[in-house]
Symmetry: C2
Subunit: 208 residues, 2 copies
DNA sequence: ACGGTATGCCAACACCTGTTGACTCCCCGA
DNA sequence: TCGGGGAGTCAACAGGTGTTGGCATACCGT
């Protein structure tokens, strides 16, 4: 009777640490390979076989530990904007603070490219991006903005500029955007974000 | 002898009008279906079979008329920014003019979403986007900007904002960005683009 | 009226995908 | 020491992909 409970280890990937399992190294290797492949190729082109080969492991292990390709992606695309507490920042420097945070958060972590590449074609991932936006960015912006009815719109504008940079710099790799230093990027983007956050309204959105 | 020259009609899709062929309607139907599918699903998920079904035609016809899936995409993603002549526009209204043009160009034509969705995963399409950027946008911006060494950078910044809007509005469909009217969008974006085009440099990029 | 040719469909190919189940081996606890 | 379950491999499945060649048909110039 080899049937019945298979091996009772399958799906509890993110359910508290428990005690360390012997396979944790393998799990981590799979996750690392998956993040790299998803970031480089997007969801469809990143095959489980390729990820398994990168992790020097059999494709079936991926299924055993993460259940399915979607499950693997969900685990690999766990993404936290890690927004800092901005309550101590003076109102006229919010743009600077936000832009600086995002640039340092994204340089050297390619989860965001993975998410963007995948969200472009995978409705589930797009929904995930919308959740991140609503739950993390829009929430933080609401705390910074006076008129709550305008908060969502302001957050959307900020997202359009910041995600636009992520798209052109990390995904499309437009040469001028790739070549700019983080400092230059910061100097150009901060006033834009500052205006989206604080300008009184669209009919007088600051002078050029 | 059915061999030899097959039917001598294959690959000359974009080689001058010639005289109209009887199959032009079919070709157009395929192209229309392809644009819709590529826009909605991206390159990988848009299957030739699905496109053919939409066009009420056999998949093999697609191959006959467009050679391969890549050839079909190349024909479907022919994209012209249709940049107008901006030489008559006063320098302080260039942002307005550019933003207004892009908004009216994109609303109601979903070639750009198709291109973005595909360029996220397909290196060839990403290269195409870079070409469009360099050949169309950067060229136009260079004509508007005084210091030619800064022109590319300015064009890159403009692209980051405009493509960011396209991404969040048409691809990711972030609700606040989707809900904004073109007029509101225009009022918010024009000053940003204006600053990217004309502000003296990054160390004094305009006040908030 | 006829013959060639452009047009279209059908069936199949070779390949690759995610996913599954059975099998071996080794480590760890009792 | 020994047994059980975790870790890992292998081979296969079923379905979908781009792509190809052969065959019927309707059109058009002569």
């Amino acid at each position: 009777m080899t049937a019945g409970v298979p091996q009772e280890q399958g799906t509890e990937s993110a359910a508290g640490p428990g005690r360390p399992r012997r396979s944790d190294a393998t799990r981590a290797a799979i996750l690392r390979a998956a993040q790299a492949r998803f970031a480089a190729d997007g969801y469809d082109r990143a095959t489980i076989r390729a990820i398994a080969a990168d992790a020097r492991i059999d494709p079936s292990m991926v299924m055993r530990y993460y259940g399915s390709k979607e499950g693997l992606f969900a685990a690999a695309a766990e993404f936290d904007l890690c927004l800092p507490d901005l309550s101590g920042v003076p109102a006229e420097r919010l743009g600077e603070a936000l832009v600086g945070h995002f640039l340092s958060r994204w340089e050297g972590d390619d989860t965001l490219p993975a998410l963007l590449r995948t969200a472009s074609t995978n409705p589930g991932a797009a929904e995930r991006v919308r959740e991140i936006f609503t739950g993390q960015l829009a929430g933080a912006v609401a705390r910074l903005v006076d008129d709550p009815t305008q908060a969502l719109r302001r957050a959307g504008l900020v997202a359009s500029q910041l995600l636009g940079v992520a798209l052109t710099r990390y995904v499309l790799r437009l040469p001028p955007v790739v070549d700019m230093s983080p400092a230059d990027l910061h100097a150009w983007l901060a006033p834009t974000v500052q205006r989206y956050l604080r300008a009184q309204d669209a009919t007088s959105p600051g002078r050029s």
